[in-house]
Amino acid sequence: MDTPIPPPPILELRHLSKRFGEFAAVDDLSLEVAAGEFLTLLGASGSGKTTTLRMIAGFERPTEGEILMAGAPISALPPFKRDINTVFQHYALFPHMSVRENVAYGLRMRRVPSAERAEQVSRALEMVKLEQLGGRAPRQLSGGQQQRVALARALVNRPRVLLLDEPLGALDLKLRKEMQLELKHLQTHLGITFVYVTHDQEEALTMSDRIVLMRQGRIAQLGTPRELYDRPASRYVADFIGETNLLPGVVAESGHGVATLRLGDTTLRGVTEAVLAPGSEAWLTVRPEAIQLTDGTRAPAGQNLVTGIVSDAVYAGSALRMHVALPGGQRLVANVPSGTSVAIGAPVSLTWPVEHGRCVGD
């Protein structure tokens, strides 16, 4: 059976760089965005994610590199000639226009006749559940409502790519979680490619088809949420995504997908995809939920074992988070069942399967 040829990427970034004097906000970034996918640019402030988004939108001009949309270069085009729309971080609604006029703006600029315009505006407002508020002024709306107007204003134009710049940042937690689901549903339903920027890794994990984790203007890792969570490529990624333990050590040997690290007197093994040079620094990352309490001081086959002293036990609803201090000074956090009895200061042994721990470089 022939493998179907994947459709060409809707957006392609080739060796994109943006420099401000000496400082490179984006450094040789290359990326392909598939049509219809929900791609998230994730990173800390200063990682270059917003700059990248602004270059796609046309508000920043790349210092080097090219941006292509459906194969055609668009870097030389101003924003109003690109088939791309943006939802801004603080919504940027026009204060002197009503909600309806805001939403209609893009259609008006493209000279859509007014009857058709009115209809499309109504449908867009229905889509974001704001049909009743068409006549209001932006300042009369709540933050969540304003955010939806911004969304409708962008989506009504049916862009091929929608850019979202941390649109949920100003909302409170509950509202944010609701909107995350709504956005995801909207995206799936409409089939529009979303490029989403956020610093919130949980948000990225929830909504994205693929995540681009950025660090200092470059890609730290590109993959599905599961790939980033289960198979982080570096310490940075492991640390950024989800909660994890990071144990620093020195590589003793590495081969056939497994590496051995020495941490003081302890030897630990973990899976690895990278080639780690013996003698180099590496980290073993293991998620708290993979760790279990055990009796005994000897590692069972296929498992790692460490011993330490309990320093803290924090009740977190569904589990008990146990903080354990290891002899070398490192700390481990293990999620154990809520009912487990734990004595602070008592020695414990912790164990986890080798394949649940990964060895990574920086």
């Binding site: 109003f80 000639k81 791309i84 943006t86 971080q89 940027a92 609604l93 493209r110 962008a154």
Partner: protein
């Protein structure tokens, strides 16, 4: 009432009196001029014989005054048009662009506001003289191109200052959103930027208008054959004071106040957005 309250009250009272006196000092001379415009005697002296409009009548029939008033009006309108046409782009350039000599430009623009008007006036005089442009060129359509350009040059600073201050408070993301929604630069300016700065532009225009009407120092050196209103009044003053001057002064005052009050309201509204 405790002993501590009384000195404070006295102090407060003294403050109110002092403030009131100063306020009176600021307004008294103006009140005097206006009141004496209705004074029934050709000599401006005490006591006041209030209650005649004849000086306004004299004013209305004074050909020289009327022509001067018309000239002042034309001058002011032209000055406003040019000052806005140059000043609004100037404010944008200061707010959004970097270029060599920007600081110098910024300081240059402030000079007419800081320096004695006379200096700007004679500088412009040397310029037009050197350029060979006659002071009466353009007459009778305009009072003279040099004086029009001179007012515009001196008052462009007012526009730049005001509009720049407003631009600094503008949310740039809105303009990006507009371009994101397919509006080009001109459309963005027309539909999004200008509505936000409209009051500042209008206010600047009003202020330039008033200042141009009252302008003497720059005007004196650049005027051609036709006097402007302040210069006409000035001429009358040298010959001796007549209550007609009071009437003229009152008219100017009332118009200025009306314009400035509108301006102040615009500024208030501007601050609120």
């Amino acid at each position: 009432m405790s002993a501590a309250a009384r000195p404070a009250d006295r102090l407060s009272g003294a403050l109110w009196i002092a403030g009131g006196l100063v306020f009176g000092f600021i307004y008294l001379p103006l009140v005097v001029v206006i009141v004496y415009a209705f004074h029934d005697s050709p000599i401006i002296a005490w006591p006041l014989r209030f209650g005649t409009l004849k000086w306004f009548g004299t004013l209305a029939h004074d050909r020289g005054m009327l022509e001067a008033a018309l000239a002042s009006l034309k001058l002011a309108l032209l000055a406003v048009a040019i000052a806005l046409a140059v000043g609004v782009p100037g404010a944008f350039v200061l707010d959004r662009h970097e270029f060599p000599g920007k600081t110098a430009f910024r300081r240059l623009v402030l000079l007419p506001l800081i320096l004695p008007g006379i200096i700007t006036g004679v500088a412009l005089l040397t310029f037009f003289s050197f350029a060979g442009l006659s002071l009466s060129s353009g007459f009778p359509l305009v009072p003279g191109w040099p004086v029009v350009l001179g007012h515009a040059a001196a008052l462009t600073s007012v526009v730049i200052t005001q509009v720049f201050a407003r631009l600094q408070r503008l949310d740039r993301a809105q303009e990006e959103a507009s371009q994101d929604l397919y509006a080009n630069e001109w459309q963005t300016f027309r539909y999004v930027t200008f509505p936000s700065i409209r009051t500042a532009v209008l206010g600047a225009g009003l202020l330039v208008f008033t200042l141009s009407l009252d302008e003497i120092a720059v005007t004196f050196f650049l005027i051609g054959r036709q006097n402007t209103l302040p210069l006409q009044i000035w001429g009358l003053l040298r010959r001796g004071i007549t209550p007609e001057v009071n009437a003229a002064a009152t008219v100017i005052f009332v118009i200025s106040v009306a314009v400035i009050v509108v301006w102040a309201r615009l500024m208030r509204e501007d601050q609120r957005t």
